[in-house]
């Protein structure tokens, strides 16, 4: 079985702090990491490989420094790594990104399963997965929390998380899946894996290597334009109650009632 996992390198927002005076992001020392959701996609890809045999290829689009993310994926069990990197890809929104990644997947002659993260933590859109599927003409399932099995006829059964429960779905492969955190617990890189990651050959493809329409990549291929970026206003200083529990609780409730907040009394709906 051939598995492709799409991973994105993102700034590590764990280290992002807000400067309380200027209310702007403090970015000094912010490192780049593999998008957390993609770690689950990598792990699931490796588990599929271990269970059904095959290869796992990691694919990313981004600037040259994404190499470190792809190498890290090798230490986690990925076999082959490909980077789509070209100044002409820069500024891609989700439409152009999905188009470009799909072209990369086509260049790899497709896959049985394409795994992606639910969303990237910089843009938080979750649009690239379904977009890639549409470009490839494949079905997709978002928010997958469990892959139950792949049967002998190439049908995969998965559980997909919904707001009020989950739904069990059966899809004929090839298909594109985006995964949530619940799906697995990623392993730590092995020592052998780390060694392999160092020496692994990474293939880099530019726009010229792909079968694409140059007008549909990067900034030119992006219908959406960011016109303004600003920091959201902070809540205007909270009211903190301290003291005897009975008093603090009643002070809080009084305050809420005064603020016109409908505290339903007497219990559930």
């Amino acid at each position: 079985m051939k598995i492709i996992v799409c991973i994105k390198q993102v700034p590590d927002t764990t280290n992002v702090k807000i400067n309380p005076e200027t209310n702007t992001l403090v970015r000094e020392g912010v490192e780049s990491i593999i998008n957390p959701f993609d770690m689950y996609a990598i792990e699931e890809a490796v588990r599929l490989k271990e269970k059904y045999e095959g290869t796992v290829t990691a694919l990313s689009m981004g600037p040259p420094q994404v190499e470190s993310a792809l190498r890290e994926s090798v230490s986690l069990g990925v076999d082959e790594i490909y980077l789509l990197s070209d100044r002409a890809f820069a500024g891609a929104d989700t439409l152009a990104t999905a188009y470009t990644l799909a072209a990369g997947i086509n260049n790899l002659e497709g896959a049985d399963v394409v795994l992606m993260g639910k969303q990237a933590i910089d843009g938080d859109t979750g649009q690239v997965g379904p977009g890639v599927a549409e470009n490839l003409g494949l079905p997709h399932i978002t928010d997958v929390r469990k892959i139950e099995e792949i049967d002998g006829n190439g049908y995969m059964t998965v559980q997909r998380l919904l707001e009020d429960g989950y739904v069990r779905l059966k899809v004929k492969l090839p298909a594109v899946l985006t995964v949530v955190k619940e799906i697995n617990e990623p392993r730590m890189p092995s020592l052998k894996g780390k060694m392999r990651a160092k020496s692994k050959e990474m293939k880099v493809w530019t726009a010229a290597d792909l079968d694409i329409d140059k007008e549909r990549i990067g900034l030119s291929g992006s219908p959406t334009w960011v016109t303004k970026i600003f920091t959201p206003p902070k809540p205007k200083g909270g009211k903190i109650f301290q003291g005897e529990t009975r008093d603090t609780v009643s002070e809080l409730l009084d305050e809420l009632v005064k603020g016109g907040i409908p505290i339903k009394r007497g219990g559930g709906k």
Binding site: P223, V226, P235, L252, R265, K269
Partner: protein, 396 residues
């Protein structure tokens, strides 16, 4: 060719662009801004440098559809289990605000099996037309089929704006539609506004886990598409005066077969309402110390008629299922009241609940970062405070 350039003569070396860049792609060299290869051409610096106009991005755009041929607003009437989703009146509410400036027709797309009975309700919210495909072949969950049908309807009806819910369904369906139509889509918007001069939709949304907000335009492509975050927009009210609207059956459009077969839907029977829908959420974190203490959280949630949320620490410890996790790797919620009990307020947790109307924190550490975003807080032991809250709410 697209490019970003610093006009050296105009650059005063103020460094505002450096602060604005989310990708650490700008530095000062000899008191002039220099942009490195980490740049994604996102445009944040251009906005930051409005005053000096020293940074410019040149861009060519691939030709979009004939913009002038598109008119009016359409919304997706999402439904589940034979009922309109609660996001629908919210999207219609947002659309009606836009309609005030745009002054064009407001329509809704309704696709499914046995859905006709929902059309009247949609119209009562103030919708002019319901474009409907009601066919026994269409399953609620077959979003590949929905995507194809919705695309066909949009191609025929050509609305200039198309909005869907920032729900699991909407966020899966609309990207597929946008990719077919080759148009832009902005995810999970918290603010929508018409630019009254250009008559373009200004779409504002949080990014970087809610640390920054971005306003996004889709100038040359139609429809301008967005998903709308749950619980942010003011829902439309049903008009009592009998708003006139009509149902347009589009039943001549071919129904494709779904490639995805639905085996079963399993409703999670845990704790009352789902957190995406709830007006009140009570969340528990590591401060609860033991899974059985989630009972306290449940009791408070029940007293308020709300749902139970959790921090990742509580989920990782297997105290409560992942579907309750709030935050960057969990769900984004927008309740009227969010009560965080024994949660420190790590940035990843805040990412999922910061835009709640009112945040209440209960924590025994007065320095916990959760108090920085809380509108109200009680410094105290949650094992005393939470039962007391239940007692006083029930007793009042």
């Amino acid at each position: 060719m697209n490019d970003i350039k610093v006009i050296v003569e105009k650059c005063v070396g103020c460094g505002l662009c450096i602060k604005a860049c989310p990708y650490v792609a700008i530095s000062l060299v000899d008191k002039k801004a220099v942009i490195n290869e980490k740049c994604t051409l996102c445009g944040a610096c251009v906005d930051a440098c409005k005053r000096y106009q020293a940074i410019v991005i040149t861009r060519t755009t691939f030709s979009g559809q004939k913009v002038a041929a598109y008119s009016g607003i359409a919304v997706l009437a999402e439904h589940r289990h034979d009922r309109l989703s609660s996001i629908v009146p919210e999207i219609i509410g947002a659309a009606k605000v836009l309609q005030k400036t745009l002054n064009k027709k407001l329509s809704a797309i309704l696709v499914g099996k046995n859905v006709k009975h929902m059309a009247g309700e949609i119209i009562s919210y103030g919708v002019d037309e319901v474009w409907m495909i009601d066919n026994p072949k269409i399953d609620d969950f077959a979003e590949d089929v929905h995507a194809s049908l919705v695309t066909d309807i949009l191609l025929e009806k050509k609305p200039e704006i198309f909005l869907g819910g920032g729900t699991v369904m909407g966020r899966s369906l609309l990207p597929r539609v946008a990719a077919r139509l080759l148009t832009g889509l902005t995810a999970d918007c918290t603010e929508l506004e018409m630019d009254p001069e250009a008559m373009i939709l200004k779409q504002t949304r949080p990014a970087f886990g809610g640390n920054i907000m971005a306003t996004i335009l889709c100038k040359n492509h139609r429809p301008q598409m967005a998903t709308v975050r749950h619980k942010v927009m003011k829902p439309a009210k049903k008009a009592d005066d009998g708003h006139e609207g009509k149902i347009v059956e589009m039943d001549y459009i071919d129904i494709p077969d779904s490639q995805v077969e639905v085996l079963e839907f399993v409703k999670e029977d845990t704790n009352t309402v789902n957190i995406a829908d709830a007006d009140f959420i009570v969340s528990g974190g590591r401060g609860l110390r033991d899974p059985k203490n989630f009972k306290l959280i449940e009791e408070l949630a029940q007293a308020l008629g709300g749902a139970v949320g959790a921090s990742r620490a509580a989920v990782d410890a297997d105290w409560i299922p992942y579907s309750h996790q709030v935050g960057q790797t969990g769900k984004t919620v927008n309740p009227k009241i969010y009560i965080a009990c024994g949660i420190s307020g790590a940035i990843q947790h805040l990412a999922g609940m910061k835009s709640s109307d009112i945040i209440i924190a209960i924590n025994n550490d007065p320095n916990a970062p959760i108090f920085d975003v809380a509108h109200y807080g009680i410094v105290g032991d949650l094992f005393e405070v939470v039962p007391e809250l239940v007692k006083q709410i029930k007793g009042k």
